[in-house]
Symmetry: C2
Subunit: 218 residues, 2 copies
C-alpha cells in the first residue's frame, strides 16, 4: 500500500494552451527536418552532446520502471574498424543469401548494400543494448517498447543538436557483445552512427505519410 | 542504381558546437521533468497539440521506410468507456491469475491494480497500432523498433506541450481492434491516455539510473 511505496507530488510543466500549440508545432518543424544519413564527415562531435542525449534517453518510461537499456559509445578507431568488419560480414550474408526478394525490393530505394564505411567514418557509434534478466539485472517487461522509446528520445536530442544519425540494425547482432564487451544478457538492438553529415551529403528522395494516412479520430 | 532511385541534397540543421551543447542540455532538462501520470483531469486538451504530436511521431525512421504505424485518437466518451471495460477485464485476469509473483513484486512500487479509471477520465486516449503485412499494407521490418521510436517522438511532443501521458500496455490487446475498428493486420501495442494532470496528482517516488549506470565509453 501507500506506506511501503511512497509517492511524491507531480510537478507539472504548466504550459498555457496557445503556447502548448506553438511548442508542439515548433517541435514538429524541427523534427521533420531529420533524415537518416549514411554519408558522414569524420569531424568529432562534442562529447557533452552524446552524454546529454544518453541522459535524455534514460528518461524514457519503461515496463515496471526497469530501465532495461545500455548505451555503448564507440569512438576508438580500432573498435569501430572491428565493428565495421563484423557488420559487413553479416551484411554480405544478408544481401547475398538471406534477404528475400521482397525485402531487397523494399530496400532498393534506400540504395543500401553490404558496404558500411560509415561505421568507421562517423566519429561515434552508439550501440544500444536491451538488458534482459541476468546475474545482476532484473527481468524487464515490454523491453522492445521501452528501449524503442528511449532510442526515440536519443535521436530527438542528437538531431536538435545538429548531429546526423543512422538507425542501423545489422542482424543477427551477437557480434556486438564481443566488440562492446557486454555480457550475454545484453542484446544489441540498434547501431547508431552519429556525426556531422559530409559536405554535399545526399539522401534518398523519400516522402512521409500524411496525417490523414496515420491518424484516425474516434 | 542512382537513376531509378533518386536522391536529394540533405539540408543539415547547422548548429554551432556551443549551441549544440546548450540545446542538448535544455532538452534533457525539459524531458527529465516527464513522469508517467495515472491521475488525470477531465479538462479537454487542444486538438491541434494531438495532431502535431502524431505528425512528429510520423517523422520517425522505420525499417525500409515502411512507416508501420497507426494512431487512433479516442475522445468519444462511449468509446473510452468500452476501452476501459475491456482493459479492466484483461487486467483482472492479469492481476488475479496470469502475472507471476516476480512480475507483481516488480509492479508493487508503481501502485497499479486492475482499475483503469484514467481510460475514461483522460480526455483523449491514443492507441498505437503496429501495421503488419495485409491486403493494402506492405511487410514492415523492425516493426517494434520503428513504432517504439515513433512513440518516443510522440511522448516528447506531448510532454513539451504540458500534457501528461501514461504509456500503458494492456496485454493481450486484441480487443483494441474492435474498439478502434482496425483490421487484423494492425496490432495494438500501446494505449496512451493523454491529458492535464489532476490538481494535486502524485507519482511513485522512483529515481532514474545515473549516466554512469547506462553509458559505457569504448
Ligand atoms: N498491464 C498492467 C500491469 C502493468 C502495469 C505497469 C507496468 O509497467 C507493467 I510492465 C505492467 C497494468 O496496466 O496495470
Ligand atoms: N541491415 C541491412 C539491410 C537494411 C537496411 C536498411 C533497412 O531499413 C533495413 I529493414 C535493412 C543494411 O543495413 O544494409
Amino acid at each position: 500500500g501507500a506506506d511501503r511505496h511512497p509517492t511524491v507530488p507531480l510537478k507539472p510543466l504548466q504550459v498555457p494552451a496557445p503556447e502548448a500549440e506553438d511548442r508542439a508545432r515548433s517541435f514538429y518543424a524541427l523534427m521533420s527536418r531529420r533524415r537518416t544519413v549514411r554519408d558522414f564527415d569524420s569531424r568529432p562531435v562534442p562529447e557533452a552532446v552524446l552524454e546529454w542525449a544518453v541522459r535524455t534517453a534514460g528518461t524514457a518510461p519503461s515496463g515496471a520502471h526497469v530501465q532495461p537499456w545500455r548505451f555503448v559509445v564507440l569512438t576508438d578507431p580500432d573498435r569501430k574498424r572491428r565493428l565495421r568488419e563484423a557488420a559487413e560480414a553479416e551484411e554480405r550474408e544478408f544481401y547475398g543469401r538471406r534477404a528475400s526478394d521482397e525485402w531487397l525490393s523494399a530496400l532498393a530505394p534506400l540504395g543500401t548494400d553490404e558496404h558500411k564505411p560509415f561505421l568507421e567514418i562517423a566519429p561515434a557509434v552508439i550501440v544500444v543494448f536491451e538488458v534482459h534478466k541476468g546475474p545482476r539485472t532484473p527481468r524487464p517487461y515490454y523491453t522492445k517498447e521501452s528501449v524503442g522509446i528511449a532510442v526515440g528520445f536519443l535521436l530527438a536530442t542528437l538531431h536538435q543538436a545538429g548531429l546526423a544519425t543512422l538507425t542501423h540494425t545489422p542482424s543477427p547482432m551477437r557480434f556486438l557483445n564481443e566488440i562492446c564487451e557486454r555480457p550475454p544478457e545484453e542484446r544489441g538492438a540498434y547501431v547508431i552512427p552519429v556525426g556531422y553529415p559530409a559536405p554535399g551529403a545526399r539522401v534518398p528522395d523519400l516522402t512521409r505519410k500524411s496525417l490523414e494516412e496515420v491518424m484516425i479520430r474516434l
